[in-house]
């Protein structure tokens, strides 16, 4: 089932590349994000799936639609042919595929990532923090300072957005005079 969902995501991405109407691109991106959230739930990452559905498919789509309202919704035809970017992207893709050949197979319980740190959190997490959800335990307890840093990043981005948008609103107010 995961393979089917992944294939659907690849199809949605191809449609995003081909489509020139930006409204359609944004809606396709919303579909893509919901597919991503479904894949994440299928991969047993329920917390991440919930966040992706609300933030990726919800807030991002609303932000994109707001920007389309303020700008315009048709993409111009490109002036030059995209041969160099295509070659660059394909070369990167082939190098990455070559890199995966040595990686452990999907769902291999002997992969290094399943043997090293994770068992420690799964076995001791409930006893040490009292939180049965290990993701919450790591996020809020073991790595609480990282989460604090993350809120700082969001705060800084919020200040940046406000600073940029306030100038526009002030100028709009001055213009009708």
């Amino acid at each position: 089932m995961i393979s089917v969902l992944l294939t659907l995501m690849a199809i949605a991405t191809t449609a995003i590349i081909v489509q020139r109407n930006l409204f359609a691109v944004v809606i396709l991106f919303g579909i893509y994000s919901f597919l991503m959230a479904t894949v994440l739930v299928a991969l047993d990452a329920v917390d991440v799936g919930m966040t992706e559905a609300s933030v990726g498919a919800g807030i991002s789509t609303v932000l994109f639609l707001g920007v389309l309202y303020l700008t315009r919704s048709e993409e111009m035809k490109p002036m030059h042919r995209p041969l160099l970017p295509l070659a660059f992207a394909l070369a990167t893709g082939f190098m990455l595929v070559y890199g995966t050949l040595g990686l452990p197979a999907f769902s291999d319980p002997d992969a290094p990532m399943h043997r090293h740190v994770a068992p420690r959190y799964i076995n001791e997490g409930l006893r040490e923090t009292g939180v049965p959800n290990i993701v919450t335990a790591v996020l809020a307890s073991y790595r609480g300072y990282d989460t604090l840093g993350e809120t700082t990043v969001v705060f800084t981005a919020g200040i940046g957005v406000i600073a940029l948008m306030r100038r526009i609103r002030r100028r709009r107010r001055e213009q009708p005079k």
């Binding site: 047993d44 799964i122 993350e150 100028r171």
Partner: protein, 117 residues
């Protein structure tokens, strides 16, 4: 190594390369940001997919289950999603600001105006 055992990696790579291609090849700034978001979300898959164990369950400890998926990539990607939407919001605010300054969200038109000025 078979196709079935590495399919998730390859779809992840396709998404990353498609996002990269949109960012480089397309001149429209909104489309560029969509490409950047696709690149970002492909990284979520890169981290989460190897953490899955078939027959396992979500990492919420219960006496009824023994096998759990790896919780550490989930924690990292939760942070990445939130930071991703923060950068996206800042990028979109810049697009609105550029539209106000140049009257266009096409890279080619903006560069042409800069050249003429």
């Amino acid at each position: 190594m078979t196709v079935a055992s590495h399919y998730s990696y390859w779809v992840t790579i396709f998404l990353a390369v498609a996002g990269l291609y949109i960012v480089i090849a397309r001149g429209n700034l909104v489309k560029k940001l969509v490409g950047l978001s696709i690149f970002q979300t492909s990284v979520y898959l890169l981290y989460i997919a190897p953490g899955k164990l078939i027959g396992g369950t979500a990492p919420i400890v219960s006496s009824e289950f023994q096998v759990y998926s790896n919780p550490l990539p989930h924690v990292l990607i939760l942070t990445a999603i939130v930071v991703g939407v923060a950068t996206l919001a800042l990028g979109l605010a810049l697009v609105v600001r550029l539209k106000e300054a140049y009257g266009s969200i096409e890279e080619d038109e903006i560069l042409a105006q800069d050249r003429d000025a």
